[in-house]
Amino acid sequence: MSLELKQITKTVGADTHIYPTSLTLERGSFNTLLGTTLAGKTTLMQLMAGLEKPASGEIWFDGKNVTGTPVQQRNVSMVYQQFINYPNMSVFDNIASPLRVSRTDRSEIEKRVNEIAELLKIEQLLDRRPSELSGGQQQRTAMARALVKDSDLILLDEPLANLDFKLREELRDELPKLFAERNCVVVYATTEPSEALQFAGKTAALHEGRVSQFGPTGDIYRQPNDLTSARVFSEPPINVAHVSKTGAWFSLTEQTKWRAPKAMAKLADGPYTIGIRPHHVSPTMHVKGAVPIEGTVQVAELSGSESIIHFDAHGSSWVSLSHGVHPLRAGEPATLYADIARCLYFDADQQLIVA
């Protein structure tokens, strides 16, 4: 019982938007599509919904091939980043519209619209027009319309991206509850790794039209199987450095060396790539064994209680994300400390070396 994508591709003219992709999404699961803009999240969702036809490959739902089935017969719902509602209809009619099309009983429509409106806290707005609502309320209406019918597949395409911070937090907390008792496939597209982590479930890391990794969200975060997945799953971007191994030691520069962890000790000598997440790099000696990196501060910015420091160390750039305010100024030399025990090692093909 699931949605299966079998080697689907999408090309527009000479451009390939989706490279052969296979995914199996189970009913009752919450799946996050994580990727930057233009990674192909929306295209993949349009393929899943049946709004676009794949150039090749097949889409199966519950054991049936639905590749050629038009979207109207697929029983899917979708919420967009833009607040999409029918401007000529009241909020009630907007929410009721999928039920009306499927010729549901009047009393049943009334009951379900009221239920879902209450769940999304817009029950007092049912008589209004979408243009008379705030952005958050408009998006709640769009969500209510997506949830009012028992869809097999619910697609959420960055639904919180256009909301301001507070509303986003509010709605993000409510989201998992809305899907908790549904036996449907939920797909949620986002550009923010923190959202994926908050929803748990499974994540597909998407990069330039390819799914680089798919699996339980926490696993991908802790053990991205290659550098691409690690990059997709890090905000600010993960620090990548080229190191070399000689005997029992890894070295970044001639001065910056550390003893290879046990699992890595047996690796052959030679060049490797490491990835360290920005919050494992700090301007203070925050953990024992952190490796000092000398360089120059480029930008030091403060976001709330966190400091983001962009740093140049002999031609390679680093980003540090740390708590507290640090007295660092652009252009000044400084030392950052990288918690080397937390770093990820990649081989020459950028594949993760599993400990």
């Binding site: 999409i84 029918y86 999928p98």
Partner: protein
Amino acid sequence: MKRYSWLIPTLYILFLMLPIYWLVSMSFKTTNEILGSFTLFPTEFTLDNYRKIFTDPVWYNGYRNSLIYVSINTVLSVAVALPAAYAFSRYRFLGDKHLFFWLLTNRMAPAAVFALPFFQLYSAIGLFDTYLAVALAHTLFNIPLAVWILEGFMSGVPKQLDETAYIDGYSFPSFFIKIFIPTIAAGIGVAAFFCFMFSWVELLLAKTLTAVHAKPIAATMTRTASSSGYELGLLAAAGTLTIVPGAIVIYFVRNYIAKGFALGRV
């Protein structure tokens, strides 16, 4: 300086209103008064001119004919332009931009160019002197305009609205009629207004393609002299009545036209 800031707008409006005032004032005068003396207000106020228009079939049929072919033309132009504009706004196809431009170039030719071929063609197929003849001839100018205006409004509607409707289960025709058309109602109003106005004021084709049955009011009006000499009062009344439909339509679509300007069209 500031004290006189009202002066220029007032003068402007005055100059703008003067010919209209003169027309309306003339329509309440007798022809003798108009020809005999210079008066700012009608000294012998008369409604005879209007009475004549509403009782004489030559006059009121002119209005009737005009309204009929203008209505047919407006409905026809908008109905044909709607799907065309949708295609231009939603799909990319070979030569779409060229076709769009070519449509507009139809408006660049003066109506006179088409008068002869239309006259010959309609005479040959028996359409001469019918409402449909004028209505069809005017679509040549109005469909491009309507497509252009509607395309602007449609492109302002996100494509995701279409997709949402399909996801909700609407078929294309029911989406188009139940959701899309109400969504761009303002645009349809503006397009209809411009079609109406063009067709209402266009004289040359309307005159060339009609003789008796479908003769437009403008043709009746340009007949300046009749058996009883110059009837200037009567012509002024007819002119005043010709402005009325346009004014009414403008009143209804005034807000939408502003919106159309904001969208970069119209």
